[in-house]
């Protein structure tokens, strides 16, 4: 079985400050990890993914995430948050041995960036 935990329902940050959204995962084997963002009344948009290789992954809109195998974490980060980053963020995992492309999503973290 595979699962994802996003421990924070909401993260508040001032514009220009660093943003971190936390994610931990559980899989039987090795993971594929993803971050998606959802703006109001929209579908999810892909931000970045970790498959293999460098533990620091860079994605869209200046976001990056660090894979930490020992802590089973994949936290999303942005050095300087923008008001337009306010949205709902989802972490997702897939066990590399799982068939197809079946992802398991976390509960989501709402990010509010204040001017």
């Amino acid at each position: 079985a595979q699962s994802v935990a996003q421990p924070e329902d909401q993260v508040n940050v001032a514009e220009g400050n660093p943003l971190t959204v936390k994610c931990t995962y559980s899989v039987s084997g090795n993971p594929y990890l993803f971050w998606y963002v959802q703006y109001p009344n929209r579908g999810l948009q892909f931000l970045l993914k970790y498959i293999t290789g460098d533990n620091l992954v860079k994605g869209s809109y200046g976001f990056e995430a660090e894979f930490n195998k020992s802590q089973t974490s994949f936290h999303l980060k942005k050095p300087s948050a923008l008001v337009s980053d306010s949205a709902l963020y989802f972490c997702a995992v897939r066990d590399v041995r799982a068939a197809g492309n079946k992802l398991t999503f976390g509960g989501g973290t709402r990010v509010l960036v204040k001017p």
């Binding site: 994802v4 996003q6 329902d9 594929y32 993803f34 998606y36 009344n41 929209r42 579908g43 999810l44 948009q45 892909f46 993914k49 498959i51 989802f90 897939r94 197809g100 492309n101 079946k102 992802l103 398991t104 999503f105 976390g106 509960g107 989501g108």
Partner: protein, 114 residues
């Protein structure tokens, strides 16, 4: 541009009605998925399909069925809608290939069952 289109953005139905949610993708993707999104629960997989006429149950298939008669179209069916099926429904597609491709999502269909 990649596109996943869900036919209805907002629907209001009555308990016991049969509901069809349609999803079409124009990317020639093999995989298609139906998720429901509820606050605090994230996205939960209802059904997915690897190919035409193939379907697999996800984590919460009870009360739902699906149909995939053509590669580009994946329909979600609520045979007899109930109030606990009030939710946001998201369709997604991806390539089947051995590598890991990201999911492409539609805009969602918000269903209210009265």
């Amino acid at each position: 541009d990649v596109k996943v289109t869900q036919s209805s953005r907002y629907l209001v139905k009555r308990t016991g009605e049969k509901v069809f949610l349609e999803c079409v993708q124009d990317m020639d993707h093999e995989n298609m998925f139906w998720y429901r999104q509820d606050p605090g629960l994230g996205l939960r997989l209802i059904y997915f399909s690897y190919d035409v006429k193939m379907k697999e149950k996800g984590d919460i298939p009870e009360g739902y069925s699906v149909s995939r008669e053509k590669k580009e179209r994946f329909s979600l069916i609520l045979e007899s809608a109930s109030t606990n099926q009030t939710s946001m429904y998201l369709c997604a597609s991806s390539l089947l290939a051995e590598g890991v491709g990201e999911l492409f999502f539609g805009e969602g269909s918000r269903l209210t069952v009265l």
